[in-house]
Assembly symmetry: C3
Homo-oligomer: 218 residues x 3
């Protein structure tokens, strides 16, 4: 698998994803009105959501973080977070637009992370893990730094399921000989659609209690 080229997306599309992550992170922090988070704090949460997934991906892969060595990521995240804070009312009205875009962003980050892992020679199963981590890392970082329960561990998100499903599909298609670009497109579509349908129809993954096999004495 040494010749796999990571699924690259144009820089402008990656920066759009970063901007959207920062926007959402800042709006999330901004909605915590009882917490007295200051302006810089909310901007930092936005930057964390925007860059956390990429950072986690590169730390897991032992690679220099591209969001630090690239000139635009931190700047775009900071400006977008600040804009999100300033225009909270405006963006609140745009929710029907932002949700699909966010689902797309999860898919994109997951596909980039999975294909980068494969390109570095990471075996299939851990490559899925890295891809899923890249997709959800920003959300985890947000919850940990805000001292909140990590949302994706709990019933009701399907965030992680959608991300892991897309990453697994990408790895499976590449193993079957599909070119990485095609596999990545399929993965992005699956992650985005699963996430949107889950929100639309209230799909949930079962509470872990449902798995308990009741064993009665015979």
């Amino acid at each position: 698998m040494d010749t796999i080229i990571p699924f690259g997306i144009p820089l402008w599309a990656e920066l759009a994803a970063v901007a959207l992550g920062a926007l959402q992170g800042a709006l999330f922090a901004g909605a915590l009105t009882g917490r007295r988070i200051d302006v810089l704090g909310a901007v930092l949460v936005g930057i964390g959501v925007a860059l956390g997934g990429s950072l986690l991906r590169d730390v897991l892969l032992g690679e220099p973080p591209v969001v630090i060595y690239g000139p635009w990521y931190v700047l775009v995240a900071a400006v977008s977070a600040l804009a999100g804070l300033s225009l909270q009312r405006l963006f609140a009205r745009l929710d029907p637009v932002i949700l699909p875009l966010d689902a797309l962003v999860i898919g994109l980050f997951g596909a980039i992370g999975t294909s980068k892992a494969l390109a570095l020679g990471v075996p299939p199963v851990p490559a899925v893990f890295v891809g899923a981590a890249a997709a959800v890392g920003g959300s985890v970082l947000r919850d940990v730094t805000l001292n909140l329960p990590v949302a994706l561990l709990h019933v009701g998100s399907l965030y992680a399921v959608a991300a892991a499903g897309g990453a697994a599909l990408l790895v499976a298609l590449v193993a079957l000989g599909v070119p990485v670009l095609g596999a990545a497109v399929a993965a992005v579509v699956v992650t985005t659609v699963v996430r949107l349908l889950a929100v639309r129809y209230g799909w949930q993954f079962p509470d872990q209690q449902a798995l308990v096999v009741r064993r009665r004495p015979r």
Copy 2:
């Protein structure tokens, strides 16, 4: 110290340790019944407990994480976590077996981490730190992601004391010229025994308040 070879254990033994960590992590998350953690969430906690110590060790050492570049770690952790969730009642009865195995796992991860640090040229004191971090990293990651107080900081664990003691012994023995394999075996025994005796006899490290030197005006 440049010629120290890390204390390697057979892959099957390392994977057994990973499986046990994942099992315990999933059972721990599974016992939090009021939290509505979903199946994937509990599996992720299990993977975190199983791989967190190794990840932390390799990040501290600036090395590519072996649990990502090796093909089996994530898979074994995920399967074991899922089995743990499905068979919670069975494993609850196995507690008397699992506790000693867990103590052994802390010892093994600590010895692997300490000897890897020494092999990379890390000086003695930080090598103890890396070894102890490798032993307890999974437990810390579990508590942080579950938004719980980090257990090992608090009175009653001896988890960290046992890990640090074993790591310190390994470093001291290697400095005295003992081959790394022998030093590692001694370290594993010490960590395991200290941990088991602490649980058996309720040993505790003192509350930090006990250290306060009362200074009266003279």
Copy 3:
């Protein structure tokens, strides 16, 4: 910018900063008297505060952590944390001395982090981010492991503002051709003074709610 030499400070000064960080971390943990944190736990918090910023800096830069490969950092941090715990009453009286020293430490860690990032070819904006993260990383690690709200996200700290301001000044001066040593000294002075004046006069950064642009229907 490939020829920028990191702003190096003498090892003794860096270790003094580490010692002060560990002292403060241990005193902070020691003041949480209702939490039953044990001696080793408080020492670990001290080590985390002392080394967390440097660790975060090197992880963000993808470099081997110097606090692990250098022989003295962990040892100095551990001894200082233990001393802080033992002499809590003494140090409580030294508060007027410790506050200015701590402000100086934030400034030093920020300047070291920013100049190291520039020396590795990190572009200006992410270099400011790395420098600010190096300055405040210990404080964030402390709050996350103690399961407390991350102080610097909230109104009233100016900790992060002072750190980011100093880092931004350093980058700007270097871009204008000022030698890195001079720029670093200016950055340290600015961070230290801003932090001290903020504490003295109760300066605060606004609550993020203040930024909300009220939009009425026209």
